[in-house]
């Protein structure tokens, strides 16, 4: 099973190693704290964009309340991920808490797009291993980056694009799995509106709020059409 999980998570490995390294390099080159605090954050926080934001908050000696609000808002998109996995995680037992803890963007998209069999226990075990593998990749990236940032000078300019490329690939995969382009256009348009109207720090949550509103409207229209059709048949 582990080789199947490794194959499934290979694209995440490729995304997390460079991004974790980018975070580690950033941490050790911008801050004076011990290098191992970088992988420690990978273990207990485990959020890519969140940890990168944390470096600038640490550098600014931000107050703890501000830290809480900033991290909560930045990661607020995760609130919506859980909603679609409520059913899937049911019956996961002791694994459930870790499945929830490890619900990053990439893990979420893997868990929601991979094919599943009828064997729920087996599939939840695969979900659990996917989550654990991904976090191991992330922490390894944090370690390598922290050590690299301390010891070697190399030109890693632009390596952070791996994250963008990963999101593009995941969008294409979601599109192919769904067979409906509407949410993709809605998501891109919501991002465009948020980027025009909001400062960078609030764009992600703003775009998520907009696209959620659009999906709620779509839901209402679908229900209305459905009921109208039902009435015609009567």
């Amino acid at each position: 099973m582990n080789s199947l999980v490794f194959r499934l998570t290979l694209p995440i490995l490729f995304g997390y190693l460079p991004l974790g390294m980018a975070f580690g390099v950033l941490f050790t080159t911008q801050l004076d704290y011990a290098w191992w605090a970088a992988p420690l954050m990978g273990v207990v926080i485990y959020a890519g964009a969140g940890q990168i934001l944390a470096v600038s908050l640490l550098a600014a000696n931000a107050g703890l309340l501000e830290v809480f609000i900033a991290m909560f808002v930045l990661n607020a998109r995760h609130l919506f991920y859980g909603l679609s996995l409520l059913g899937q995680f049911r019956g996961a037992g002791w694994r459930k808490l870790y499945l929830i803890f490890g619900l990053t963007d990439e893990t979420y998209s893997l868990l929601t797009s991979r094919p599943r069999s009828q064997d729920t226990t087996h599939e939840l075990d695969v979900d659990f291993r996917i989550t654990a593998f991904n976090q191991v990749y992330w922490v390894i990236g944090c370690v390598l980056g922290a050590l690299l940032g301390r010891n070697v000078a190399f030109d890693s300019t632009g390596i952070e694009f791996a994250l963008v490329a990963l999101f593009i690939v995941l969008t294409i995969e979601q599109l192919k799995a769904l067979g409906d382009a509407f949410p993709v256009w809605a998501g891109a348009a919501a991002a465009g509106i948020a980027m025009l109207l909001l400062p960078p720090a609030h764009q992600l949550i703003g775009a998520i709020a907009i696209v959620t509103a659009v999906l709620l409207l779509q839901y209402r229209n679908l229900r209305a059409n459905h009921q109208a059709e039902g009435n015609n048949h009567v």
Binding site: N75, R77, K96, V164, Q174, P200, V211
Partner: protein
């Protein structure tokens, strides 16, 4: 507060805030999984959020003050799309796009190569 105490407190607070965003749906919506609205969001939200993240981060990687604004990110992004539609190999698509972007950024080819 000493430096180490601050760092430990910082990490604890950041970890709590992040975990809160992940566990809240499971604490408060557990009984509504069969609700058609939850199913609707579960079906369409993943694709919408991925497209949204791709758009926001693509925009952030672009140099919008360059001679050709944002072309660095757009070229690399288009390359990812083309290669992914062609081979559908995530590793290859990501490596090609990231490599192209690093090359563009480090050589400054878009600013000097075409016009210099």
């Amino acid at each position: 507060m000493s430096e180490t105490t601050y760092l430990v407190a910082f990490i604890a607070v950041a970890a709590t805030a992040t975990f809160a965003t992940r566990i809240i749906p499971f604490l408060f919506f557990e009984r509504h999984t069969e609700h058609p609205l939850v199913k609707h969001l579960g079906r369409y939200l993943p694709a919408a959020v991925m497209a949204l993240l791709a758009t926001v981060y693509l925009q952030r990687s672009g140099d919008w003050t360059a001679t050709a604004p944002g072309l660095d990110a757009i070229l690399a992004g288009v390359l990812v799309v083309i290669i992914h539609l062609w081979r559908r190999n995530a590793l290859l698509s990501i490596a090609a796009g990231t490599g192209a972007y690093m090359l563009i950024r480090q050589t400054g080819v878009l600013n000097t190569g075409l016009f210099g």
